[in-house]
Symmetry: C2
Subunit: 206 residues, 2 copies
DNA sequence: TTCTGTTTAATTGTGAACAATATTGCAATT
DNA sequence: AATTGCAATATTGTTCACAATTAAACAGAA
């Protein structure tokens, strides 16, 4: 999001909430999103709801048919995902490179917290929560980058891969695999070696 | 834009107009965009203006400071452009590949028309117009692709390169160069050979 | 003068009513 | 029974009025 300083306004909160519900699959594909229903649910007027939906439409999370309403967008085609995955790898690598030298202990603490939550999500097989945490981890890397507009690009890409997340989690035999992978990533970050860190991050994106 | 069928609504028209004015440099960097002023100019209320500005903000054309208004976003950093150029090449190649087999005479006619306009723009040294036509040419390729959401990604990338256009046009000795390059691209498309066509398209993106 | 705090104005954020458009259901007709 | 036309409903698109927030102007004291 191209906001210079993010003050908490209603529509932004709604965007983040709806985005996560779509990514995690709590809101199924094709489900219509009515402005009045959402307005009642979030206890606000239609205006902030409209803004939120418009933004999600631009991100690719929902589809808009003029005068006919929004609905949760269907998953991207296989070929589309094959296009987007390397794009996402490139963007996140770039983000990591731009922040790597200035990583502080506070950054690592933030990630350690996420890792703990990820561990419990793995243990309880809470795939929706796991998806959310995975997204948040990668998002945090992009968010730390001082490059303006990188986040907008990243969000637009990730929304096309949202199905990829859930699908990827449910197949592996070892349900802790996702957790271990991210532990390895953070550990590699701590070594201070850029190239292997980028490699670890990239290999996690597929 | 993720609209399934594009009916002409006001905010969309405003988006396209403002986007072109920013890309072509008619609206200078840092210039504030006030909702009421724009509402008066376009003879509409603030709501469609707000929607247009929000969309442009997500595309990276304008920056938004909450409760403080929008302004034309400054150009991307050099490193950012170096990131985005190959991304754009990848996206447009993908788009071309997805439409190449079904190109019709109508498509070529559309391009020929653009080429003619491009020629006169080159002859009259109208760099703003030339920028607009260049964008429209590449945009048309992405637009023809049936892949949903490709346009959103493309727009987000191009907005980061908008300075690149104007700068690239004003330097070459031969002012017709831009025209010739696009003529060559379309001619290559007509041969029906995919790989060289993609190469021609890519080489034009730098 | 320079700094600080307060007031004032400008601007965005939100709410609510109205208009325009698309969808749905129903009836009349073939 | 299937189809077409029409009315009723639901939904979005737009306008206007108001609240909340921010930035600027200004006065007063060190």
């Amino acid at each position: 999001m191209p906001q210079i300083e993010s003050t908490a306004n209603q529509s932004q909160d709604i965007v983040e909430q709806l985005r996560m519900e779509i990514i995690t699959g709590r809101l199924e594909e094709g489900m219509p999103l009515r402005e009045v229903s959402l307005a009642e649910r979030f206890q606000v007027s239609r205006a902030p709801i409209r803004e939120a939906l418009k933004q999600l439409a631009h991100e690719g999370m929902v589809e808009s048919k003029p005068n006919c309403g929004m609905r949760v967008a269907p998953a991207s085609s296989e070929s589309m995902q094959e296009l987007v995955i390397p794009l996402r790898q490139t963007v996140e690598s770039f983000a990591l490179k731009s922040i790597f030298a200035e990583l502080s202990e506070a950054d690592f603490q933030e990630w350690e917290t996420l890792l703990e939550e990820m561990r419990t999500a793995c243990e309880t097989r809470d795939y929706a929560q796991l998806t959310e945490l995975d997204i948040k981890f990668h998002q945090s890397i992009v968010m730390k980058s001082p490059e303006q507009g990188l986040m907008s690009i990243w969000v637009t890409l990730v929304s096309r891969l949202r199905r990829h997340f859930l699908a990827g989690f449910q197949k592996p035999n070892d349900p802790m695999k996702v957790y271990y992978e991210h532990v390895a990533i953070v550990a590699m970050f701590r070594t201070g070696k850029l190239e292997p860190s980028m490699q670890a991050l990239i290999s996690n994106i597929d």
